[in-house]
Symmetry: C2
Subunit: 290 residues, 2 copies
């Protein structure tokens, strides 16, 4: 099916956008990498979301999700890797699904965990953000996985099937048990290096010879999703007051549009983005009728 | 006392700004014309404030107010008439009080009720927005009062003491009893006219000879509060992404900054404005130490 609106990101901005979109009765899908935003659920106590004093991040995440779901939002767990325009619609390619939508709201949040030295230089030359997508390129080769979120564990399991050696660096609290073929490593990420291709991964605890480094974060820079999307010097998506980006039909809201990072700001921007998407769809349908 | 932040307007934007300001422990006063925003409390049901599904406007207004008050916000009922800068602070003149603050957040909402024909031409020449301020100029003269909100009733009572004749046109539901010296009139406002000074007020039901016309709305154009405040062609306050206005130290948030009018957007902008005010105060205090 072709959705009216595909919302990339299931945090406060994405869920608030979905609520408004559904209240306008649009076919709306929210595509979230995590069931609930880990950035939100990790907050023990939030006291500045107006109207809901002293709430845990998890409670607030559930309230926002339930509110949107009660209004008919569809939530799909996946991570969008690329977006390609095609005439009057957009193709969104996830790890597992392919979506089509007339308009898109990017609400991808921010990438937790600073960029690792060398990371940007080796993207596509050994650095990857999706093991299920790119793992086969590293068949019978040694790789490292840097996991900022628990979701990395499933990816590590897949790599263990395919690669000759898997070094896993979990950077979240209480990591679960890993496949016996996986070697847990320690320290903080320091650098990814090599000569044209990735050859080494170093942490504060040591250096490992690898052909690939997989990085699993809560978000990925939205700028990587699409060519031509205007971003500022800090890699945040540039939007106007109506949350329009440089690409007609694509809107953005929340932390991925820059500071200050406030839940209420993300929520407000998400709802404005949805109204802008509605207006864009109106123009689109009139044009198609001519 | 000199407040750190004076917030003009007690709707969602103002209360959200106050919450953030108080969480930074700043001396914060919210100056509201109404105890609760009538625009908000008149909403029977609000279903798009994320996290609080299907709530009445009155409930939401109380939740926002309580949340800010629990954090130590001071609320004063008054209507600011003018703002004058003075070195590193601002003077805010209300009907009843004079406030001083280092920084200001304008969250005055929108003016309900379209401008009456002739209204703008006769401001200061018979048209006034404050009976308690200007009533004495019309001693022993006939005046009309146009009341868009119940708060007008107290003002009418004051005019009855002072003026030779008071015609009152209430434009809200179920007006209360008025002073026996006041003549209730009917219809919808049509025009204010005269030769240099106000001489006549007309509604769809008739024309009355008056020397003054008082107008009581939920809000008044923020552009009238201060010279030099940059506004757009629709008279909304121009702000940047951090809610800064054209005047350093003055920020604006919510409906007074233009469309789209969404509670969540007003709330988010209010909280961003408070953060900007905090930053401005930091710079101010460093400068004063030098």
């Amino acid at each position: 099916m072709i959705y009216d609106i595909a919302i990339v990101g299931g945090g406060p901005a994405g869920l608030a956008a979905a609520l408004n979109a559904r209240r306008r009765n649009l076919q709306t899908v929210v595509i979230g990498k995590e069931e609930f935003s880990s950035k939100l659920t990790q907050a023990h106590r939030i006291d500045n979301y107006p109207g809901l004093p002293s709430i845990t991040g998890e409670e607030l995440a559930r309230k926002l999700r339930t509110h949107a779901e009660t209004n008919g939002m569809v939530f799909v767990r996946d991570e969008i890797q690329n977006i390609y325009p095609e005439e009057d619609l957009f193709n969104l390619y996830g790890r597992e699904h392919h979506f089509q939508a007339k308009t898109i709201i990017l609400a991808t949040g921010i990438t937790l965990g600073a960029e690792i030295e060398g990371e940007a230089d080796f993207v596509g030359r050994g650095v990857s953000y999706c093991a299920t997508c790119d793992g086969m390129f590293f068949r019978q080769k040694p790789v490292a996985m840097v996991g900022y979120i628990r979701e990395a564990e499933a990816e590590v399991r897949f790599l263990a099937e395919v690669c000759s050696q898997v070094y896993y660096l979990p950077l979240y609290k209480n990591p679960g048990p890993v496949d016996p073929r996986v070697t847990l490593i320690e320290g903080k990420p320091v650098a990814i290096s090599g000569n044209g291709q990735v050859e080494r991964f170093s942490t504060t605890a040591g250096t490992w010879e690898v052909s690939g480094v997989f990085i699993e974060r809560a978000g990925r820079p939205a700028s990587q999703l699409m060519d031509d999307l205007a971003i500022d010097e800090e890699k945040f998506i540039i939007t106007d007051g109506m949350q329009a980006t440089s690409i007609p039909g694509i809107f953005a809201a929340g932390d991925c549009t820059g500071k200050p990072w406030q839940i209420s700001r993300a929520v407000g921007q998400g709802q404005v983005a949805a109204l802008s998407a509605v207006r864009y769809l109106d123009v689109l349908s009139k044009r198609q009728k001519v």
